[in-house]
């Protein structure tokens, strides 16, 4: 019997995954982190990328693509608070500006820098998706 850790992957809109795992790899802000059961308490933000979960009692890995969020680790439980969308300071700012502008009904066109930030975020997401797919291919 291998030691296992409970993992919950939830987003604001739905619960994505819940189960027992032997080993979890997450794309943390400072680089990938691997977590075994009874890890020290840790909180870190995660980048867009693939979450790899080695399921207990099964010889396979579950791959979950997430677009960023927060990872909380406690000795017996791992919680991934996944974002539902790509987030970034520029993007949030852009959305806030858009909401503000709509309220003021200002008609200034500042689309160009907003689009740039969005394109960059989409680019990062696309790369992460490709990486996730490559990892999947290697397995099969």
């Amino acid at each position: 019997m291998v030691a296992t850790v409970h993992i919950d992957v939830v987003s604001a809109e739905e619960s994505i995954f819940s189960g027992e795992a032997e080993f979890v790899v997450a794309p943390a802000q400072m680089g990938e982190v691997g977590i075994y059961p009874r890890h020290a308490p840790m909180i870190t933000s995660i980048k867009p990328g693939a979450l790899r979960i080695k399921l207990a009692d099964k010889n396979e890995e579950q791959l979950i693509y997430i677009s960023g969020g927060i990872l909380e680790v406690q000795p017996g439980i791992i919680t991934v608070l996944a974002d539902t969308a790509i987030r970034g300071h520029d993007l949030d700012e852009a959305q806030a500006n858009a909401a503000k502008k709509a309220a003021e009904e200002a008609m200034k066109n500042r689309a160009s820098d907003v689009d740039y930030a969005k394109a960059q975020a989409e680019f990062v997401e696309a790369i992460a998706q490709i990486q996730a797919i490559e990892k999947l291919r290697k397995k099969h």
């Binding site: 939830v10 604001a12 809109e13 308490p41 959305q95 309220a103």
Partner: protein, 288 residues
């Protein structure tokens, strides 16, 4: 047969209205089930994030986030008003708006200034009509609210809080109690206090990566967003069930009107027949 044609047309038109209200009732019923499901699905995230936030606020971290610090003097207040985009849902929006206006009056009488963020078309229209200070608004959320759509309007308010433009943030929405009962409520969002934070199971500090401040900033923003998202989903479930009830009573009412009109129509018809018979009998008697 005076008026019988008019009555027939009237019956037809009421019947058509009833068909529409009946269809809307059924659509609202199915949408309500979905909205309730969404409410349920959003719960684990809110609970998890609440737990983590509880740990953070009690952990012996040296960093105190502005969201957690209570301000001594409250001069400016932010209010997020959640309403529906569409009408025909009974007194739902009226109740929410009445509640927020009462609250605003109270704050104004205490000399506090109010900034409003309106989520939903009805609230936005109303707030602009009464000349409230609308800082941001979002309309056209559709049937499935997405967190992405809310971020902008929320960030305007959170930025205002961080920049000391507002000292407290409240949200006013309709709480879904059950299909028949929805209640408007005003909840305090910022500063985070009381049951919204809860207490952790054990005192320990985390390893923060990259650093405590950044993680806490990110987490608390998400937490507020999830609270507002929760309000929006509750409001949406309330909207659909209120619409369902309103449309049900409209259909019932239409049925009563049709029954009454049918009675009048039949009476008119019978009167006409009786008249005709007595005329024929009278005519025959005159000939014989």
């Amino acid at each position: 047969m005076a008026g019988s044609k008019e009555i027939r047309t009237k019956i037809k038109s009421v019947e058509n209205t009833r068909k529409i209200t009946k269809a809307m009732e059924m659509v609202a019923a199915s949408k309500m089930r979905k909205a309730q499901e969404r409410m349920r699905q959003a719960r684990p995230y809110a609970e998890k994030i609440r737990n983590v936030a509880a740990h953070l606020s009690y952990a012996k971290s040296e960093y105190k986030h502005p969201f957690l610090v209570k301000k001594d003097q409250v001069k400016n207040i932010g209010l997020i008003v959640v309403t529906s985009d569409k009408g025909l849902c009974g007194g739902l929006n009226t109740n929410v708006l009445r509640m927020s206006v009462n609250q605003m009056k109270q704050w104004e009488s205490q000399g506090k200034k109010i900034q409003v963020s309106a989520l939903g078309n009805k609230g936005f229209g109303f707030m602009t009509r009464i000349n409230a200070n609308v800082k941001s608004h979002i309309t056209g959320l559709g049937d499935t609210p997405h967190v992405e759509k809310l971020i902008g309007a929320i960030k305007v308010m959170l930025d205002a809080y961080i920049n000391h433009e507002i000292d407290q943030l409240f949200i006013c929405y309709t709480k879904f109690i059950n299909t028949m009962k929805q209640e408007p409520v005003v909840d305090q969002l910022l500063p985070l206090a009381g049951e919204k934070i809860g207490s952790p199971e054990g005192p320990w500090d985390y390893i923060y990566e990259p650093d405590a401040q950044m993680v806490i900033d990110q987490l608390l923003t998400r937490y507020i967003e999830s609270l507002i998202y929760h309000g929006v989903t509750e409001n949406m479930a309330s909207e659909q069930s209120a619409r369902m009830v309103a449309m049900k009573s409209a259909s019932d009412n239409a049925k009563n009107v049709i029954d009454e009109l049918k009675l009048i129509y039949n009476k008119a018809r019978q009167a006409a027949i009786t008249k005709e018979i007595s005329e024929i009998v009278g005519g025959a008697a005159a000939v014989a």
